[in-house]
C-alpha cells in the first residue's frame, strides 16, 4: 500500500450545520469535549458528486477521532467541542 501524506487544510470546531469544501479527500472528527454528547451527521458524496445519504455518528465523551476517507458535502453537529479536520 502506497502511503502518502495527507495535509490538513482546515480545522473547525463547530456546532450546527456546516457545509464543507468538495475538494477534500477525507475528514477526521474528534470530540475534545469530555462528557459532551454530540450527534454528527455526515452527508456523503459519490463519484458523480451526488449525495448518497446521511450517516450518523453519536459521540459521547472524548471518543474518536474518526477518520472518514471520503468526500463529504456537509457536517452537522449538535453539541459542542466537535472538531472537524478536512484533509486533502
Amino acid at each position: 500500500m502506497n502511503h502518502t501524506p495527507v495535509k490538513v487544510v482546515a480545522v473547525t470546531a463547530s456546532a450546527g450545520a456546516t457545509t464543507i469544501s468538495d475538494k477534500h479527500r477525507a475528514i477526521i472528527i474528534s470530540n475534545s469535549g469530555g462528557a459532551t454528547t454530540a450527534v454528527v451527521t455526515l452527508v456523503f458524496m459519490d463519484k458523480n458528486g451526488q449525495n448518497t445519504g446521511d450517516f450518523v455518528i453519536r459521540i459521547v465523551g472524548n471518543s474518536g477521532p474518526f477518520y472518514i476517507p471520503c468526500r463529504i458535502t456537509s457536517v452537522s453537529c449538535s453539541g459542542s467541542n466537535i472538531t472537524v479536520a478536512l484533509l486533502v
Binding site: V8, S63, R71
Partner: protein, 134 residues
C-alpha cells in the same frame, strides 16, 4: 492525534484518498440478556472495498455494568469493540454506553456481529450504520 495544528501531516494511502461512498445501510439488532447473540449481516449485494461502522443515534443503550463487548468477524478476522459506559447514570444501575465509529479497511461479503449481555434484565438494542466505500 492533535487536530488544532493545521500544519500536521497525516499519512493515508492513495487508494483511500480516492474513495467514495457507494451505499449506506442501517438497522438494529437485539442482544438478549444473559446470553451471547450473533448476527450475520450480508453485504454481498454491495461492491465495495472498505466500510465504516457506527453505532447510531437512537434510544440510549444501557448496560448494567461497565461495558458491552461486540465482536466483528470480517473475513474470519476478529475485531472486538468494547463499548464503555459513561458516567452520569440514567438510573441507579444502568449506564449509557459510549457509542462509536470504526473504519475497517477490508473487503468483506458480510460481517458477523456477536454481542454479550449479562445481568441487564432486558434485551439490548443496538442501532447501526454502515457506509460502504469503493
Amino acid at each position: 492525534m492533535y487536530l488544532n495544528n493545521q500544519n500536521i501531516m497525516i499519512y493515508g494511502s492513495d487508494e483511500e484518498k480516492s474513495l467514495s461512498v457507494v451505499g449506506i445501510t442501517s438497522g438494529s439488532l437485539e442482544f438478549f440478556d444473559d446470553s451471547v447473540t450473533s448476527y450475520y449481516l450480508d453485504f454481498s449485494s454491495y461492491r465495495f472495498k472498505k466500510f465504516l461502522f457506527a453505532s447510531k443515534d437512537g434510544t440510549d443503550i444501557t448496560v448494567d455494568g461497565d461495558y458491552f463487548d461486540m465482536t466483528f468477524d470480517v473475513n474470519n478476522n476478529q475485531f472486538t469493540q468494547r463499548l464503555l459506559s459513561e458516567s452520569g447514570t440514567p438510573s441507579s444501575n444502568a449506564q449509557i454506553i459510549r457509542q462509536f465509529a470504526e473504519y475497517y479497511p477490508h473487503n468483506a461479503r458480510g460481517v458477523t456481529l456477536t454481542g454479550s449481555v449479562t445481568g441487564l434484565g432486558i434485551s439490548l438494542y443496538l442501532e447501526y450504520n454502515f457506509a460502504f466505500f469503493a
